[in-house]
Point group: C2
Chain length 125, copies 2
């Protein structure tokens, strides 16, 4: 059983379609609402330890990892758990318990949606 | 005269080549140093007002804007200036004074380098 939540950067009606919340940053000024949503994701990656944990999960075999796989970032286990919770709250990770361990997974669609924010909009014709 | 600074996400020897500091987040776990550098950029975009200002500059004609063009985000002029300074310190904007006004510019290479962090690494052969 997965406890996947709706990811805030994606269209809640069709998260698998990876419809981003926001246009590329270069296309037009963000509205206040778009900025709130996107800033939450960027802020979650704006901490070095969190970013290392996120990268450890994202690059792990199969795109998922349990806490036992990714504790090698020089902080305590409770700190690791705290940061993983923050990444989940921001919609960047989902988690699933299997037996003893909780497995964390990065949704490729979330990375794709964030990447799209940072693409250069084509020049107007 | 431009006061363009070396952008921390880029190779200091060849910033125009947009060599990113870090591999895609999905390629391998970030080192502590890579995470420090990349987290600084993400953190700078992790505030809704800053993100709106950044988007306003990035989407403005010619990829640059003066403060007079982008003050429409519902905060005071000193607050706008404060956030623009933070974006400059993170290497996301450069600035240039021309006459009365300071013009801010997003380096496309910085956006490209950040976007590259968020690409999905190809599966190993």
């Amino acid at each position: 059983m997965s406890n996947t939540k709706v990811l805030p950067l994606l269209d809640a009606e069709a998260p698998e379609a990876a419809a981003p919340c926001c246009p590329p940053l270069t296309e037009r000024p963000f509205t206040a609402e778009e900025a709130e949503t996107a800033a939450r994701m960027f802020k979650a990656l704006g901490d070095p330890v969190r970013l290392r944990l996120f990268s450890a999960v994202a690059s792990h075999e199969g795109g998922e990892a349990c806490v036992c796989d990714i504790s090698d970032v020089g902080v305590s286990q409770p700190t690791v758990s705290h940061h993983l919770k923050k990444l989940k709250e921001a919609g960047l990770l989902t988690s699933e318990r299997r037996g003893t361990w909780v497995y964390y997974r990065v949704e490729p669609s979330v990375l794709a949606a964030m990447g799209k924010l940072l693409t250069i909009a084509p020049a107007p014709a």
